[in-house]
């Protein structure tokens, strides 16, 4: 009995308090970044203005002037959106084939796709630079879109596969009886039925594209450079510009963090390939 009483006491008061403390601790760096973004560069490094200061929007207003934020942001949006669309365009038919017309090789193909993610990107750094430069694709939106798509294709196929598998096969077979062709089946039956799953796959893919920081940095210089490149290029080590650095960082991660809040539940499914329920 003693244990039950003790644990319920902890449960009533200690657990919520501890949980809140942990939650706030983990969120603190983000909170700090947002807070600092409203300080001037001079105030941001003064201990006396740690928490109480005169908030200013100056950093956000000067973002275009200081960092050319909008060019990088629009590159991020363009590459992430088109990469997501292209990945779904290739991934949906593949996942459809694997979920509803599996062959003996399907299992191996899926595992193989996953294993391509394990190849260290750095191993092919120079060949990629060499190839893209010689084909004239270096630093173009097209290249970044293709690379982002290929990086995320395995995860997207896996995710869609787990969603599609939940659709009863009878429905698909019934439509085959009615004489629907394959395209009709995908368009009229599969996509409407799996719409929720497809949307969360797309959101997750978009988030990964947005946050990608290896190829987007290494295969671009200016024209197709994304926000990752902007931040990595401006890590002022002397830290004299905490205010403006925070503002541009907040603007770079803000939309994605909010988007992430909405698809946190799907994230589990997507990243564990349906193996954790």
């Amino acid at each position: 009995m003693a244990h039950v009483v003790k644990s319920s006491k902890f449960g009533a008061f200690g657990r919520p308090v501890l949980a809140w403390v942990v939650g706030l601790l983990f969120f603190f760096p983000i909170f700090w970044m947002v807070l600092t973004s409203f300080k001037t560069d001079a105030d941001a490094v003064k201990p006396e203005y740690l928490l109480f200061f005169k908030p200013t929007l100056e950093n956000y207003l000067n973002m275009t002037q200081n960092y050319d934020y909008w060019r990088f942001a629009s590159n991020s949006v363009i590459t992430s959106v088109f990469a997501t669309i292209f990945t779904l365009f290739v991934g949906i038919p593949a996942a459809y084939a694997m979920a509803f017309n599996p062959s003996r090789a399907t299992k191996d193909i899926l595992i193989w796709m996953l294993s391509t993610k394990m190849l260290p990107a750095a191993a092919v750094l120079y060949p990629m630079t060499f190839l893209t430069k010689s084909m004239g694709l270096y630093d173009t939106h097209f290249l970044i879109i293709i690379v982002l798509s290929l990086i995320n294709l395995p995860i997207v196929v896996w995710m869609l596969f787990t969603y599609f598998k939940e659709i009863p096969k009878d429905i698909i077979e019934a439509s085959q009886m009615d004489g629907a062709n394959t395209w009709g089946e995908i368009k009229e039956i599969l996509i409407p039925l799996a719409w929720g799953g497809i949307v969360s796959t797309a959101l997750l893919c978009f988030i990964f594209c947005w946050n990608e920081a290896y190829w987007t940095v290494r295969l671009t210089t200016t024209d197709a450079a994304t926000l990752s490149k902007l931040i990595e290029g401006n890590r002022a080590p002397e830290g004299l510009f905490f205010g403006r650095l925070s503002a541009v960082s907040t603007a770079a991660v803000g939309p994605i963090v909010v988007l992430g809040w909405f698809c946190q539940k799907q994230l589990v499914k997507g990243l564990t390939f349906g193996a954790v329920k």
């Binding site: 983000i30 796709m113 750095a122 120079y126």
Partner: protein
């Protein structure tokens, strides 16, 4: 059935794209790794373009194996990955068990906790190394200075002052230094990935058998033995999956290492490849092949461990 052919063909674009994406650059890496190939050489200009006549066999591999950074880079890669895995899994299990039961504001705490996972790596690194860990301007510097100021005041106390004057001045730590930059990277990546572990463990905990738990409580099982013999075995599979996914991501860590110290004292294999790529493509490619081999060893090991779980 012939109407099955078209549906099956639908996976070919995806498979072909990935195959090309994997085979072509990797083949080139393999080729470059066995020839002499540098970007700039005044003495040997013939080495500046890839050609079979510059064949070097396993020479580049030997060169890389004997270079002073190579073994360190492998050790450091494994050290960073293992530390992050240990921290995120232990913290993840603890936090997931903590917030699994409902309490006021559970939803908000969940949202607060998961947020770091969506921060882009470059921002994560810039934020931590500058605004939090910087020894002078960051929160660390400000906190250490604050403690020293308080100590200074305490030393002037009439009687107890003598006790506090025995205390040393605290020194802030620089996380860009040779010995500490790995710690900075481990800290920031663990901050980002613990939420991921929590999220997955929490999802798994929701499907834990409650009746079994109640029976255990009636039998007088302590909270610890419930955790040890019921919860932990239930979490075995999600833990395996968290380990696998993180190993994939962290073996190719780059942005954080670059931003924290430009690899000073803290190179991993991808970083070493990046450094070689500035001039010695042959060595960079050989290192790349070593990185592929290392990743494959880890991958085979991990896929064995969780492959079955994935296909169930």
């Amino acid at each position: 059935m012939s109407n099955r052919v078209l549906p099956r063909l639908l996976q070919t674009p995806a498979v072909l794209l990935l195959l090309v994406w994997m085979v072509v650059p990797l083949g080139m890496t393999l080729y470059f790794s066995s020839i002499r190939y540098v970007l700039n050489s005044l003495r040997r200009p013939e080495w500046t373009s890839p050609s079979l006549s510059n064949w070097r066999g396993f020479g580049n591999y030997e060169y890389v194996l004997n270079s002073k950074d190579f073994l360190f880079a492998i050790q450091n890669s494994l050290f960073i990955v293992c530390s992050i895995l240990f921290l995120t899994v232990v913290l993840g299990v603890m936090i997931a068990v903590l917030i699994n039961k409902s309490f006021p504001g559970q939803g908000i705490v969940r949202v607060l906790l998961i947020s770091p996972f969506f921060v882009m790596p470059a921002v994560n690194a810039v934020l931590w190394i500058n605004m939090i860990l910087d020894p002078v301007l960051g929160l660390q510097g400000i906190a250490v200075a604050g403690i020293n100021n308080i100590l200074e005041l305490l030393r002037n106390w009439p009687i107890l002052g003598g006790f506090f004057s025995l205390w040393p001045e605290f020194e802030p730590m620089s996380f860009r230094a040779t010995q500490t930059s790995a710690i900075a990277v481990i800290t920031m990546v663990s901050w980002q990935w613990t939420p991921f572990a929590v999220l997955i463990f929490m999802t798994s905990l929701q499907s834990e058998d409650q009746q079994q738990k109640e029976a255990a409580i009636l039998d007088g099982a302590s909270a610890w033995s419930q955790f040890r013999f019921l919860t932990l075995p239930h979490l075995a599979r999600p833990i395996a999956i968290v380990v696998m996914i993180q190993a994939i991501f962290h073996l190719s860590l780059y942005a954080e290492i670059e931003i924290v110290s430009r690899g000073n004292g803290n190179k991993n294999l991808p970083y070493l490849i990046g450094e070689f790529s500035n001039n010695n493509i042959g060595a960079a490619s050989a290192t790349g092949i070593f990185a592929v081999i290392l990743a494959n060893i880890v991958a085979i090991f991990l896929l064995r461990m969780v492959g079955k779980a994935l296909m169930d």
